[in-house]
């Protein structure tokens, strides 16, 4: 199976998971979205070379996946797809920051610490976002944004961008399959073919996006409303939100990893 087909199935798989019926799925989407935003904000508040205090934060994406009956494999696969980007963002730090710092018993370049910190933060952020999508779905996230009074146009843009992503992958899949069926042993498209092929895929995608927009606007007729479950923000949603924020603050203010390390190694007073 081509990697594009795989990507399409992975995208759909994550979306399908959001139709589950765990207690997490039944929570108000705004509670889950706000909790995830709080998680990202707390992650971003750490110093750029901190690594160890970040590790306990893995509990959030793991808990979302475990409580939401989300299998880890699709989440891990999508995370692996994002890893090159995360690594790319932090890769230049070891070149820029060469001053030596102590890391346990070792002396290493400060740049490597920043790189590792970015990699951990990025991985935690992406896995939390994936777990959120898997227990809420893009429609749920959009409903949460609307509940949070985000401008309707912006929410529609997000939903349409998500739909456009599907279209782009579908069109690319068709074009590449058609190429391969005629390419024989040539296999994957050669560099000289990529230019016209990408152009063609984009034109076809824009054409199709236009037809979808026409079909949508004929039923929308200026209404600007999207369907979605209307659920009230209940005490259980508030409890979920407050509970997690309290835990994030605790983990931010108290270095649990170091404390546990000292406890295990007998270093506590």
């Amino acid at each position: 199976m081509s990697s594009l087909v795989q990507t399409l199935y992975e995208l759909r798989r994550i979306d399908e998971l959001s139709r589950g019926d765990s207690f997490l799925h039944r929570l108000h989407p705004a509670a889950k979205l706000l909790t995830t935003l709080a998680f990202l904000a707390v992650l971003a508040s750490f110093e750029r070379h901190q690594i160890i205090p970040l590790l306990p934060f893995a509990v959030y994406p793991i808990a979302l996946a475990a409580w939401g009956d989300v299998p880890f494999r699709p989440i891990m696969r999508r995370l692996m797809m994002a890893e090159p980007l995360i690594i790319g963002v932090g890769l230049l730090n070891p070149l820029w920051e060469r001053s030596a710092v102590a890391f346990g018993p070792w002396q290493i370049s400060a740049g490597w610490l920043v790189f590792a910190s970015i990699a951990v933060k990025g991985s935690l952020a992406v896995s939390a976002a994936l777990a959120l999508t898997a227990v809420t779905g893009m429609d749920g996230v959009a409903a949460a944004l609307r509940a949070m009074k985000v401008p309707r146009l912006m929410v529609m843009e997000i939903q349409m961008t998500y739909r456009y992503l599907y279209l782009l992958v579908e069109e690319a899949m068709r074009t590449i399959n058609a190429y391969r069926l005629r390419a024989g042993r040539a296999g994957n498209p050669k560099p000289g073919v990529w230019g016209p092929m990408v152009g063609r895929i984009l034109i076809r995608t824009v054409d199709r996006a236009e037809r979808i927009h026409q079909a949508m606007s004929l039923r929308e007729r200026g209404g600007g409303r999207f369907p979605g479950r209307v659920i009230k923000f209940a005490w259980k949603d508030a409890l979920f939100l407050c509970g997690w924020i309290a835990l994030f603050l605790f983990l931010r203010l108290f270095d649990l990893s170091s404390w546990l390390g000292a406890l295990v190694l007998g270093g506590l007073p």
Partner: protein
């Protein structure tokens, strides 16, 4: 005057790149009529539907829906009386559940949640796919997708139904099912298609388009048996009337 009446007066349309779309099309369709619009590729069938729904604005000519002239200003209100089913159901279905897609139109009509829910139930029942309400559209078969696309339009309770190539990509059973569904509707229907057999079964009247103009307009039974006319329009006799069909 009936709201279920549609009239085109000398419609012209040229695409922005200069490609001619329509060159003076006129007709009047009365309440409850089922009209087939047939013609070769590029005859202007899809352009005509896009003009009637207000997506495109005619370069020249007028469209009346009921007693109101369709303009840019009133196209959301007046054009909303027409429900259009697109050729490719994948273009029409964009939500992640069939039920949400069917609810999209009624919600945007400003209906309260109870009425939206009732409309969704009724529309899904009308096309026989109530059991697919919670399924993602991309998991449906071509026939189910077509039925879902029709349901999205029916839920808005339009006065008239416009269908663009409704039988394309359907297997014989799904096509037969579609014909039964369409025969069950009392709406005014305009169906553009190459499937002349479908027109024979559903439409009492046919408009034959050729190069953006009306070549003939009359009873289906007489137009679709006129070999010379069909030949001129780039069409052939319906398969069921073909001598080889017995």
């Amino acid at each position: 005057m009936s709201h279920h009446l549609i009239e085109a007066r000398d419609l012209h349309y040229t695409y922005p790149d200069g490609t001619p779309g329509l060159g003076g099309v006129s007709f009047r369709i009365e309440h409850g009529q089922s009209v087939g619009v047939v013609g070769a590729n590029g005859a202007g069938k899809s352009t005509l539907l896009l003009l009637l729904t207000g997506i495109l604005t005619p370069s020249l000519g007028e469209i009346y829906i009921g007693d109101a002239r369709l303009t840019k200003k009133n196209r959301d209100r007046i054009g909303g009386r027409l429900g259009m089913v697109f050729q490719d159901p994948d273009d029409q279905l964009f939500m992640s559940r069939v039920g949400d897609d069917v609810a999209f139109g009624p919600i945007n009509q400003g209906l309260d949640p109870d009425r939206v829910s009732r409309r969704v139930t009724e529309a899904l029942q009308a096309v026989g796919i109530s059991h697919l309400k919670n399924r993602p559209p991309f998991k449906l078969s071509a026939g189910e997708k077509r039925a879902a696309a029709i349901a999205t339009v029916l839920a808005m309770e339009p006065d008239m139904l416009l269908l663009d190539e409704p039988s394309s990509w359907l297997d014989p059973k799904a096509r037969r099912r579609l014909i039964k569904i369409l025969q069950g509707f009392s709406h005014t229907k305009i169906i553009t298609t190459h499937d002349l057999d479908l027109v024979l079964e559903i439409c009492q009247r046919t408009i034959v388009l050729s190069r953006g103009r009306v070549l003939a307009d009359g009873p289906t039974a007489s137009l679709l048996t006129d070999r010379k006319l069909l030949d001129e329009a780039g069409l052939e006799l319906p398969l069921s009337l073909h001598p080889a069909a017995g």
